[in-house]
Structures are given as structure tokens and as C-alpha cells.
Symmetry: C2
Subunit: 416 residues, 2 copies
């Protein structure tokens, strides 16, 4: 062990190489950091609104999970023994999409983050490639990098992932006998961070490519229940079931603090994922509580009403941006989810803008962490999930002022 | 993707190499499997007795965690925001062992299994060595193998790990410029599976070796609170704080279904472990419930009373073994924990004995999964944790009968 100049030991000299990789930004670094300061409107982190956490039903759901008859939830094996939550998840997917409930198997995980981690662990040898939309969820960049993958980003437009670009690369790899990607990670509905949605034809195209070229699609549908209008394209998993791992979470629809997510995939893959778990299974007690809660409520009605609430907030943000953002800025118009993605004039670096915005009383997430390459410097992600409409409007007003101030400082610098 | 003879796809051809390693037996494979059959007395899995799960206090603890004031537990960042559980853990360790509460930092994990997994992930490059007692907890074999380690086992006697053997190997490595181990994993109190305890002098010796040779001790104290008599040696962490990661869990003292464990280690290492987590942090809700529960009870009194109960069960097992096991068998006499470790005559293979035992209405865990090398064929682990004393006695009676029947079949085969 090596002692630093201060005499403190530096343990990191013996840490594994994987700990030293630039690995995206671990999600926890954003956990409500700026939110503690009531004076800042923190449009940075995608926190669901706490008023939506079903507190009355939750208390009863917990009580019932602790009733003597359900003591098995407290025992080892509770997670594999009690199948209520995976059965709920499987049945709901089958009902929504017209598939058979036995079509694939379900694994409950410690949030969708653990799902991605298990997938990385099961599939990725060092150097294996994971292809992704770019920009994408920084947590996925972190997790796949931790698992030794080489990441490759592909562009998005208003129909989502540009699957022609993916196909072009696949053809090139095949023709030059170069390695194929192992996984392709996508957030097809109300994408994090862009808010965009992958069209039906693009999904069909991606499904065909996966079957033809033998890679696996990791379909992250964290926001899928939070669409603002009726029409939703079916999951890619319904189009390529043998090639698709469908990942979901209860963090946005119920509450993040349960830390419960799931994977639906072919049975053999689910068994493989289970064997990659270090712990025997996701906690039995919290699963029983969630199962009780879901069965005690009209979950369809619940997600529709919270989606309507987020819809109103998104509308407030879009209207305010049209009103407050200076010329040269543009932004996406999401049809669901939590996020609007804004593009500022090319010379603006949102990382540098950040402190100016803080002085104006608003924060956001600059674009760079969402990219595999080093671009995204003039982009930002804005969350409409946490605040009511009036505070969102105020936050965008402050952001507009900050951007204008930043731009006019920049012109003065350029001029003088 | 390759189709098997039945026409089903074989996805495993693209699974990573790590998924194919002989990796010990994942803990979940033992999750109460035989316990479902009421006619078998399952002395195999180390399940705590369910009558001990503090149900009345738990209901109230959950209720309070869901009260509106505590809604932060349901939000992202709950796990890092609410410090009550890590603070409880740090304060208790400091009080028990006379150290300063700021002495090292605490990370709450999804059970001690996740703690071991994060440690493996942070420290282990492919081929790095983890040294261990042999036999040892099969879950640790699984986890460190998953993380790419080469495992090396060292013998145990009635004072625990034979640290002279460890030192001899370290000297040899140093003299021949061969690589040093990165980690040494030990269960010093009421060891799983042998029930043995590492003496004070052996702990001091191991601490000195770690400091001198620069490896890290992973001290797994899952059973540390469950000693049958007063005198306990201090944790190795008190002797080599810069070199020791102290791992613990609430699975044996409260209930496994919470899935809550912890690591106490130098601050820099705790930060490193945190960054290896795929999910932002262990679920906030379940942590709040546990913190409420622990603060609402006299936890010291609680662990003393459950230890007394396990003491009575251990005594019943030992008495019954003295009475029922045939000549040529021996066993350990644990001073705490959940397990007795039995050695049968050398020609007996406990894996082959297993079906004979089932026919007699009793099960156990054969020795082999606990070994890094392929030995242990004539050993078995017997848990006294799950059943009341009378059923333990009946179980051992059945086991004795099974062993006698097996031995007499074996002699007949040898004779004829």
C-alpha cells in the first residue's frame, strides 16, 4: 500500500482496472443533490413527484406482507418461493400485448439497474461491444462499462434510433469479418434523455436486424407506462422474442424507494441472469409488499392518472420554453416520460452555462454524460417530473434568463 | 444463435466466459428446497427460525417508514440521504469494540452477498488471488469466482484458520517473486460450515500478515452476534483497520427477507464500493423500516435471547449425535452460529449417502460445495437453526440410522 504525501494510505493502487475506467456518471451522484436547496428549481434529476407515492395503500400492503401467514416473505427463498410479483408482471405484459403469459420468463431485480448489470455480467466478455442510442441514459453507460464492454453510439432522429445507420455498420462488420455487437441497448419509449419515441417501422427493422445478425436487444422500458396519448407501438420484444430482453421498473410508476425492477426474456436467459446474481434473490419482503399493493389497486387507472399529471407538466414546460428561450435554441416535444432535451447554439457549452444557471436559481443536466463520444456539449436535459406546472414555468423563465445572460456575456467577450 | 437438436435456441453460446466457470453453488439453489416436504427433516439449509421474526415490531416499523414525514425513503437518493441505518451500524460497532464511530465508513448493501460482490468487483482483476479458509461458505466461492478470481484454500483447526500455513505461502511467494494474494476471505466467528472460531492470537497473526504483505482481509461476521457464551475475540478489523473490510448482515439476527447487509472499511474503499454499485443505493424504504425496527427494540437483548435459543438447539444436536452416530464419525462443537460439521469414515461419500438419508427422512449438505479443491467428500454440514430441539433429535436419529444402513450396505458390497 502506498502512502500519499499527507501520510494517508492510497488503497486505490490495488483496485481493479475496471474501477478506473471513465464509466459514465453513476446514477447516485445525481440523487437529488441540488434539490435540497429550496431556492433552486432543480430541473436536473428525473425524480418522480412524491405526492404520487400511494401512501395509504402502501401502509395496508406492508401490513399484510407482515401478517403471520406471509412470514415466508421474511425467509430465505422468499424471492423464488413467492411468485406473485413475477406472475403479475408476466400477466400484465401478456394482457397488454396479446402474447401468451408463458412466452418467456420473468426475473425480479433490485431495480432496472440490477437488471442491466446482470445482463452485462451474463453476456459480456472484455471487449465485447454494446451498441446504444446516442445520447443515452448515463446509468447504462456506467453499468456496461463496468462490465467491460466497448460502447458504440448511434444517432437518433424524431423516429428514434436511426436503424439504417445500425444496419450499415452491421453489413460492414460482416463483410470485413469484424466482430459483431453482443448487445444493443435501447429506450424506445419516451427516451432518456431525449424524450423521443421509436416508431413502429424502426422497431420492426431493429427486430429483423437482431434476428439476422444474432445480437440481443436490451429494451429498457422504464417510462413505457407514462405516455400522454393512446397510441403506443408494441414492445420490440413482441417482434423478436428470442432476441430481446425487456427491462422494466416500478420506480417511475410506484416509487423508486422500493428498488424493484424486472426482466422478461427467454427462459434460458432468465436462468442465466439468476445465476449471475450474487444474492439469492431480490428481497422477499419488499416483493410481497409490492405484490399486495399492485393487487389492491387499479394499476391501469393509476398509471393513466399519473401520466395525465406528467402530461400537464410537460405542456407547461414546452409552452414556457417557447416563450422564454432565446433564438437559436430548439427542443424535443416528448409524447410521454419525464424529459425534454434542449439544444443550444453550437458555441454554448452547457457545462459552463451551469453555474450561470445556478445563479439564476435553476439547474439542469448538461448533455455530455449522456454521450459515449465526447459530444453533447451544447445540449441539456430538463426534467418536468418533479415540480408542479407553475414552478416549471418559473424554472424555464429563469433558464431563459440565464441563457440570455450567458449569450450576451459571450458576445461581449467575442466583441472585445 | 445455435439451435439444439429439439429446435430450441441455445442462447448460452453467446454467454460470457465467466458464466461457464465452475463457480461454487449459488446460494439460491438451496433456498429451502427440501423444506417444502414436511416429512423430511431438512438439516441442510441454514434458515433462521421464522418464529423469531419480530412481527409485531415490524408492522409498526413499516407503518412509521411510510408516514408522510418519511416519504423521502420512497424517493431516489433515499439510500444515501437517510443515514440512520449506516449510523446505527457504525455506532454499534464502535460501542461493542471501543473504537471511534468515525473510524472507517459504512456502506449498506443488499445483503452481505452484495457486499462480497462489490468487494470482488472493486479489487479483482482477472487472475487475482483470493485466499480463503477451506472449507468455506459456498456463496463466497461463487461470488469471487464470478468476479474472475483464482481461489486458494487454507486448512482450519480448532483455533480456526491455520495462519502459519498462510505465512509460509506468503514467504514463499515473496522469495520467488510470485504474485501476492489480493484478498483473504475469512469467517472468524462460528464459521460456515465448520462452526469453528478463530482464536485471538490467530487473529493478531493474520492482522500482522495483512499489514506486512499488503493484502486485504474480508472479514465476514454473519454469525458474530450469535455466540453461546460471553467471551468473544475482537474483530480482526480492530487489529488492522486499514487492511480489513468488515462485512455483516441482518439476515440471521432479524430476518433474511429484508436483504440488508453492510461493510465497514476505510472511507476510500467505501467510496470505491459505492461506485461499483449498479443501482444508486440499497432501497430506501426497506432501510427506513429496518432503522425504525432497530431503534424500537433492545437489539442487544434480542440477539442474546435468540442466541440462547440456538444454543439449546445446538446442545440437542450434539447430544443426539453422541447418542446416534456410529463409530468412525466425528464432529465439531461450535460455540455459536448455526452449524455443526461432521466427518464420516473416509470411504463414505456424503453425496452418495444423500439419497439414503432422504429415504430415512433427513437431509444435510454434503461437504464438496464448500471446498475450492475437490475434497470434502466425506464431510457434511448440519444446521440446527431451523427446527426445535425435539425435531433436531429426531433428525439426528434418522441420520444415524441412515449412516449405519449405508455403512452396512457398503460392507456387504465389500465382502461379497
Amino acid at each position: 500500500m502506498i502512502r500519499s504525501g499527507t501520510g494517508n494510505l492510497d488503497h486505490s493502487v490495488v483496485f481493479a482496472e475496471r474501477s478506473k475506467r471513465k464509466a459514465g456518471i453513476s446514477a447516485f451522484q445525481f440523487s437529488g443533490r441540488s434539490v435540497e436547496n429550496d431556492e433552486i428549481i432543480s430541473l436536473n434529476f428525473g425524480l418522480p413527484d412524491e405526492s404520487l407515492f400511494q401512501i395509504p395503500n402502501l401502509q395496508e400492503a406492508c401490513m399484510r406482507a407482515l401478517h403471520a401467514d406471509h412470514v415466508k416473505a421474511l425467509q430465505y427463498g422468499g424471492a423464488t418461493g413467492t411468485r406473485r410479483l413475477p406472475n403479475f408482471i408476466a400477466a400484465r405484459f401478456a394482457r397488454q400485448w396479446g402474447t401468451s403469459a408463458e412466452h418467456g420468463a420473468v426475473l425480479v431485480t433490485n431495480g432496472s439497474s440490477q437488471a442491466l448489470d446482470l445482463i452485462g455480467r451474463l453476456f459480456l466478455d472484455p471487449g465485447d461491444e454494446v451498441w446504444m442510442e446516442e445520447p443515452t441514459y448515463f446509468g447504462a453507460i456506467h453499468i456496461f462499462t463496468l462490465n467491460g464492454a466497448t460502447l458504440r453510439g448511434f444517432p437518433i432522429d424524431h423516429d428514434g434510433l436511426i436503424t439504417d445507420a445500425v444496419e450499415e455498420d452491421l453489413i460492414h462488420r460482416k463483410n470485413s469479418n469484424a466482430p459483431m455487437p453482443k448487445l444493443l441497448y435501447t429506450i424506445p419509449n419516451y427516451h432518456n434523455p431525449t424524450g423521443l419515441t421509436m416508431s413502429g417501422p424502426r422497431r420492426e427493422h431493429l427486430a429483423r436486424l437482431a434476428r439476422e445478425y444474432g445480437f440481443y436487444i436490451v429494451e429498457d422500458d422504464a417510462y413505457g407506462e407514462l405516455g400522454f396519448s393512446g397510441a403506443v407501438s408494441p414492445p420490440i420484444r413482441t417482434m423478436a422474442p428470442e432476441n430481446t430482453l425487456y427491462v422494466s421498473t416500478f420506480s417511475k410508476t410506484i416509487a423508486p424507494g422500493f428498488r424493484l425492477g424486472s426482466v422478461i426474456a427467454p427462459e434460458q436467459i432468465i436462468q442465466g441472469l439468476q445465476s449471475m446474481k450474487a444474492e439469492g434473490g431480490t428481497g422477499g419482503l419488499i416483493q410481497e409488499m409490492m405484490a399486495n399493493l399492485l393487487e389492491s389497486m387499479d394499476y391501469d387507472h393509476h398509471v393513466r392518472s399519473i401520466a395525465a399529471m406528467y402530461h400537464a407538466r410537460c405542456d407547461a414546460m414546452i409552452r414556457a420554453m417557447a416563450s422564454c428561450m432565446p433564438e437559436g435554441c430548439s427542443w424535443t416535444m416528448p409524447k410521454g416520460g419525464f424529459f425534454v432535451w434542449a439544444t443550444l447554439p453550437e458555441h454554448v457549452e452547457t457545462a459552463a452555462l451551469w453555474s450561470c444557471a445556478l445563479r439564476h436559481g435553476v439547474s439542469f443536466v448538461g448533455g455530455q454524460p449522456f454521450y459515449v463520444s465526447e459530444s453533447g456539449a451544447n445540449r441539456m436535459r430538463l426534467s418536468f417530473s418533479y415540480y408542479p406546472p407553475d414552478q416549471i414555468e418559473e424554472g424555464i423563465f429563469r433558464l431563459g434568463s440565464a441563457v440570455k445572460a450567458y449569450l450576451s456575456d459571450a458576445s461581449r467577450e467575442n466583441a472585445g
